[in-house]
Amino acid sequence: MLSEQTVQDLEQTARELRVDILKMLHRSQSGHTGGSLSAIDIMAVLFFHHMKHDAARPDWEERDRFVLSKGHAAPALYACLAKAGYFPSEDLATLRQLGSHLQGHPDMRKTSGVEVCTGSLGQGLSQAVGLAMANKVAGRKSRVYALLGDGELQEGQIWEAIMSAGHYQLSNLCIVVDCNGLQIDGFTEDVMNVGPVTAKFAAFNMHVIEADGHDITSLGQAFSAAEVSGRPTVIVASTVKGKGVSIFENKAKYHGVAPSDEELQIALEGLGAQ
């Protein structure tokens, strides 16, 4: 159970991360707003509370590893890595620019703290499974976290990977699905219904936990439960696309659109930042 103080601190951190995401996207005028905002509370809890990692030692063998399988939410990852100290926060302004180490989708060879290359949906989870296998072969106690989108569950490779996580009983693997219900073409249940996801994961021998993806306490409990379950776990996190910015919330349009000048102003005001 997270203390009240920890919850407040993480809520504040998530607010700051949202501001960083919006400013970075506004600056680049390119990138994925909605899915970065829906994922950021989950990532805040992982990067600033639950995961064992050290920006001063990005190659530390015993670190927990985070795989952003929904790689288009790269701005959320970059905001976390900068705040954690992997690189200067001024770099965020170079997102998607020529020569920047902050590529449109995460690149392990360019950005400190990025574990694998992701962005082609469905591939990150397989890599996370491989990382969890490597930890077992090497006898490392560290854990692997993979963040997926719910639209991403439409990729067949996800189910190949889930099958293998269940088959090899990778208890050091924790998967989080950012279920914001939207994808580029509209509502996920209209484009290609993947539900009921909880039953599907359970059927693949996974330990499944449902959580509120914007409630720090709920997420903290889920991560702790996953750690002691002794089984590969999927946390099905209910989220809202564009969360935290009223004009973006629940709108498919803001999947891949960066905020305009005016939208940025409204967003920052809403978040109590200028």
Binding site: V116, C117, S126, V129, G130, M133, S164, H167
Partner: protein, 311 residues
């Protein structure tokens, strides 16, 4: 005579004994790809993906990112075809240290037919930045190539065959990535082979010698990087090139050689290989004959090309 895949199975076992970081993956074909030997000896370091090649490649990427040296095997048609995008995004783009050892390349897969005969894998893999592409000639060279790939840091695609092939190289041969081998000297024409076609090139050269034509024979076990210097030297010194591969003439060895020659030393070329067609069911030997992948056809090509030689 030994199949290149058998040599792979042996050397993988040896690598497993030498290095605890060597892990192997397969997609329900371990008996055929010969990773089963490794699986039996090192079960904790073997991961069967089941019939799921895309996931196998992704898991191999994760294992490499976690510090292991994964060897991932399946048939060439599934590795380069089914799992192409995974190889692109999860291996080549991040330059991860994964060795994709694809067996059953080419038409000598035989009876399973065209659906299972990869005639395009070398072209596909060669087009990827960061990717190294190897196609050894026989058992001994396969063993050396697998060891060289293990010692090299980065993604490698190694194409092996199903059937037994004649031995070209000595047991103690070495393999250097990016280096071709001159198997026979000659001044009239150069035959360049890869995979099992190198043995045919040697056979063709002997027949040409009997007809008074001195053919040079090069073997390119490394398709990418290609030994461009050796190719250009052969072009300058013999003035005519015949390439031989168990693969489409588009984009594989023949394509790679033509690219080098067009920019560096244009001379007449004939590409012996699959002429932009898929294979079909049949015994391996008969298929090679049917599609013109024989020493006789190489002799014909060499004699024909001599008439096109400049000067």
């Amino acid at each position: 005579m030994i199949a290149t895949r058998d040599a792979y199975g042996q050397v993988l076992l040896e690598l497993g004994r030498q290095n605890p970081k060597v892990v192997a993956l397969d997609a329900d074909l371990s008996g055929s790809t010969k990773t089963a030997k490794f699986a039996k000896k090192f079960p904790e370091r073997f991961f069967n993906a089941g019939i799921a090649e895309a996931n196998m490649v992704g898991m191999a990427a994760g294992l490499a990112a976690g510090g292991m040296i994964p060897f991932a095997s399946t048939f060439a048609v599934f590795a380069a075809g089914r799992a192409f995008e995974q190889i692109r995004q999860s291996l080549a783009y991040p330059r991860l240290n994964v060795k994709v050892v694809a067996t059953h390349g080419g038409i000598t897969v035989g009876e399973d037919g065209g659906s299972h005969q990869s005639v395009e894998d070398l072209a596909i893999m060669r087009s990827l930045p960061n990717m190294t592409v190897l196609c050894p000639a026989d058992g001994p060279e396969t063993a050396a190539a697998i060891r060289a790939a293990a010692a090299y840091e980065g993604p490698v695609y190694i194409r092996l065959g199903r059937g037994k092939v004649p031995v070209v190289f000595p047991e103690d041969c070495t393999f250097e990535i990016g280096r071709g081998v001159t198997l026979k000297d000659g001044t009239d024409v150069t035959l360049i082979g890869t995979g099992l076609m190198t043995a045919m090139a040697l056979e063709a050269a002997a027949e040409l010698a009997a007809r008074g034509i001195q053919a040079r024979v090069l073997h390119m076990g490394s398709i990418k990087p290609l030994d461009e210097e050796l190719v250009l030297k052969a072009a300058r010194e013999t003035g005519a090139i015949v390439t031989a591969e168990e693969h489409s003439v588009i984009g594989g060895l023949g394509g790679a050689v033509c690219e080098v020659l067009a920019e560096g030393c244009p001379v007449p070329v004939e590409r012996v290989g699959m002429r932009d067609v898929f294979g079909q069911s049949g015994p391996a030997g008969k298929l090679l004959e049917h599609y013109g992948l024989t020493a006789d056809k190489l002799v014909e090509s060499a004699e024909r090309i001599l008439k096109r030689k400049i000067g």
